[in-house]
Symmetry: C2
Subunit: 159 residues, 2 copies
């Protein structure tokens, strides 16, 4: 069964190529970008400006062929792709929680952006900690290395 989506907009950021990008929003502090929502969907943005953070779901358009075993940016061992946030996934959907600075008509101004320029946007959702945040967390192989994400940049491994 195939599932077909159409982008609702496009994400503009300073990152012109995958190499050298931050690998998560927490490594993209202060980086700003713009999300251009196509005009036919702009009505759906009503009430969004009151949220400080939003979830962007987007198509990782430069991910290339998927791989079930990947070496993540933060590690040197091969990991199952579903235990990583690497882009080479069977369905290359990216997820970032970003700060919403403001909305001008159909343009969202955002901050903490770890997304490649011209990425097709699939969905926007409000970020609600009561829905999305969990306590008592274990994070497996990332436990020891996740602190490195603030300074880590991608090395083109997933191009």
């Amino acid at each position: 069964m195939d599932i077909t989506y159409s982008p609702i907009g496009i994400i503009h950021t300073p990152f012109q190529q995958p190499k050298g990008m931050p690998v998560q929003p927490s490594g993209a502090f202060d980086i700003q970008g713009r999300v251009e929502i196509y005009p036919q969907y702009a009505e759906g943005l009503k009430d969004l400006e009151e949220f400080s953070h939003i979830i962007l779901l987007y198509h990782l358009h430069k991910a290339g062929e998927y791989s079930l075993s990947v070496i993540p940016f933060l590690d040197n061992e091969p990991r199952g792709v579903f235990a990583t946030r690497a882009p080479k996934r069977p369905n290359p959907i990216g997820l970032s929680v970003v700060r919403l600075l403001g909305i001008d008509n159909n343009v969202l101004h955002i901050e903490n952006v770890d997304i490649l320029n011209n990425t097709p946007l699939l969905d926007v959702k409000p970020y609600v900690p009561e829905f999305d945040h969990q306590a008592e967390i274990r994070t497996g192989w990332l436990e020891k290395v996740k602190g490195k994400v603030k300074n880590k940049r991608s090395n083109g491994r997933f191009q």
Copy 2:
């Protein structure tokens, strides 16, 4: 531009119809389900069991036609669909953070499930608070009503 995905698995839950479902994982405490990953993708599950929580992205297969203005379950006023978590979205992708109880071969046992039975799965990602959780949050119209989510059940509004 169309983007085509294929499900990587299917989500089994006790919820046979949209009406009466919890509207978020925090309203589905203790509800258990199973995610069956199709065998050709099972290799990608390596290392996932060490994570206590996972993000499921799935196709809201019963959402029907989208609407840019919706009345959310938690409110009585029309809101822009992108300022809600309602299913009738232009690209009906659902997102839930659920507890991972364990993995048997290609089957994930999960808890806190607010998902309809037989929902097609698009992606699994590890939940990492350092990536996904933000501080200093404003949640707009949800600020006053989000506490109701623990007891709220859907009323079939989005069927």
